[in-house]
């Protein structure tokens, strides 16, 4: 007897997997193909598209790195400081403040962007507004990751122990707390970097033509250039993102990304 139900389920799994994975593979293969056609390599393979990407969009890659790294750096400082203070008390006001600080995760990027552009358009030049926006929307990821760790382990005891030995708040923060939450900070940093690297919805409102990030550059390339160049440019994004995503999987931290509404 043939089990049609089972066959149907396996077909479904196959189709969905192909739907998700095949375009990624084709993007990688197509980026090396001299001509994207029915037979991918009928005209041989080439690195020309990558040269084109670096010539036209090299500065977007550099600019994105600067924005993402600065965002990570600033949020490491802001996130750990804030989480440290929040881990010390659990009053009703602090609960409310915690909700406010996680709000940027829930509010759509386009709405945050429209709000920012109205009040802070003067920071738009040189890309400062992009940096500010990225810091705001990625802050909750760092904050929650670090706060989660501080709450699960017995940090309060550690902190109070150090305090009873006469350590001041800054000494305790830098010498006692920070070294022991290194892995949480690292996970948070990777999440922040990944989110900042791929941020488009908000950045598209905030950028100026002189300072373009990688995703905005991708949009331009898709709209105006050959599919091969679009593929090569996408592969550069993938090369940066894949190792981070893989590490986050290993650390079981990817679930934080399901909250990211940045599509």
């Amino acid at each position: 007897m043939i089990n049609w139900g089972k066959i149907l389920v396996y077909m479904l799994i196959l189709v969905v997997s192909a739907f998700i994975i095949l375009p990624i593979l084709f993007t990688i293969v197509g980026s090396f193909s001299a001509y994207w056609g029915t037979s991918m390599f009928s005209k041989g393979w080439t690195l020309k598209w990558y040269q084109d990407v670096f010539r036209y969009y090299g500065d977007t890659i550099l600019f994105t790195f600067i924005i993402s790294l600065l965002t990570v750096l600033i949020n490491i400082i802001l996130g750990t400081m804030t989480a440290y203070r929040f881990s010390q008390s659990s009053s009703r006001w602090m609960k409310l403040a915690e909700e406010v600080l996680t709000l940027p995760l829930g509010i759509p990027g386009v709405a945050t962007a429209l709000a920012l552009i109205q009040t802070h358009a003067m920071f738009r030049e040189d890309g400062y507004l992009i940096l500010i926006g990225h810091i705001i929307v990625t802050f909750p990821l760092m904050f929650r990751t670090v706060l989660g760790t501080l709450r699960t382990k017995n940090f309060k005891l550690l902190d109070e122990g150090a305090a009873s030995l006469g350590a001041g708040p800054f000494y305790r923060f830098f010498r006692v707390i920070l070294p022991s939450i290194r892995s949480a900070v690292l996970s948070g940093a990777m999440l922040v970097f990944l989110l900042s690297l791929g941020e488009f919805n908000m950045t598209f409102f905030l950028y100026t033509p002189l300072r373009v990030t990688l995703p905005v550059g991708l949009y331009e390339a898709y709209a105006s250039l050959r599919i091969e160049i679009g593929s090569a440019y996408t592969v550069i994004f993938l090369i940066i993102a894949i190792p981070l995503m893989f590490l986050l999987h290993k650390l079981n931290q990817t679930s934080a990304l399901t909250r990211n509404g940045g599509s």
């Binding site: 389920v9 479904l12 799994i13 969905v16 997997s17 739907f19 998700i20 994975i21 095949l22 375009p23 990624i24 084709f26 993007t27 029915t38 802001l78 400081m81 804030t82 203070r85 010390q88 406010v100 600080l101 709000l103 829930g106 509010i107 759509p108 990027g109 386009v110 709405a111 945050t112 429209l114 709000a115 920012l116 109205q118 802070h120 810091i135 705001i136 001041g168 708040p169 791929g198 488009f200 919805n201 598209f204 409102f205 995703p215 949009y219 898709y222 599919i227 994004f237 993102a241 981070l244 995503m245 999987h249 990817t254 679930s255 990304l257 399901t258 990211n260 509404g261 940045g262 599509s263």
Partner: protein
């Protein structure tokens, strides 16, 4: 006494969030309540229900988000079950690949649909090879946008459901099987009702992601009428700032409500 000294730790974030987040949000809400003459009004909101042009975008957004959420939940549910209940070589790599698109910006999701269903995409080329005719060239239609929504929803839903399915207490299912239930009956009457809250929570998150999606649809059809694109066009092309702000507030409220629902369900379950 001791903790009061560390209040200084909250000073930087208070200034940054206050000036760069809360203050802009308040201005956004106030602008959405402003009429053309500067007076306080709810016109920008009633317009979204009365004006057919705006109303169409509201309906499009809601229907698209609802359809994408329901279909993704079904498909991801099947995959989550498969992944949670089978061990095979290369599972980690397969799982990583399936959930990897979570990190894609919307524009890349749009591009993936162009690779699949564009003029020289995989599926039309395959159809040409099979039938001699280039078919299913649907990337730039509403069907393409719907598929793009599925593309970013499915990885998120798989990940959200996977953990719950894996943790599910199988003794319940085994008990149902031992009294004669078929595997399908056990899933239908025992597993799914227990997992219903997780599906609901995941669906709320997926709905919120779909409602706020901008880059994905914008890459495929930048004139297509959904709320985020309408908001962009009202702001940059028509200079109707008040209307754009009202749209932003509406999308924002829907998304915050959905996120709150998601967390409420998960926290209630965790207790």
């Amino acid at each position: 006494m001791r903790t009061s000294r560390t209040v200084a730790f909250l000073l930087p974030i208070t200034i940054i969030f206050g000036y760069f987040f809360l203050y802009p949000l308040v201005v956004l809400i106030l602008t959405s309540l402003r009429g053309a003459d500067g007076a306080l009004t709810l016109n920008n909101y009633t317009l979204m229900l009365m004006d057919p042009y705006y109303f169409r975008a509201v309906i499009n957004s809601l229907l698209l988000a609802l359809a994408a959420t329901l279909v993704s939940l079904v498909l991801s549910g099947v995959l989550a079950f498969f992944l949670a209940r089978n061990e095979f070589f290369g599972k980690t790599a397969y799982f990583t690949l399936l959930t990897f698109p979570m990190s894609f910006p919307g524009v890349v999701v749009g591009f993936m649909i162009i690779i699949l269903f564009g003029a020289t995409g995989i599926v039309p080329m395959l159809m040409q090879w099979l039938t001699g005719e280039r078919m299913l060239n649907i990337a730039y239609t509403i069907l393409g946008i719907f598929l793009a929504y599925l593309y970013f929803e499915i990885p998120r839903c798989i990940l959200a459901l996977y953990g719950a399915v894996k943790e599910f207490d199988r003794t319940l299912e085994d008990a149902a099987r031992s009294i004669g239930a078929t595997p399908w009956q056990a899933i239908r009457y025992v597993v799914l009702p227990t997992l219903f809250p997780i599906f609901l929570a995941t669906g709320a998150l997926a709905f919120s992601t779909s409602m706020s999606a901008f880059g994905t649809a914008f890459t495929l059809a930048n004139q297509f009428e959904i709320l985020p694109i309408l908001m962009y066009n009202e702001y940059t092309l028509s200079f109707k700032i008040e209307a754009a702000c009202a749209i932003a507030v509406v999308i924002g409220l829907i998304c915050v409500a959905m996120n709150t629902l998601n967390r409420f369900i998960l926290e209630k379950k965790g207790r």
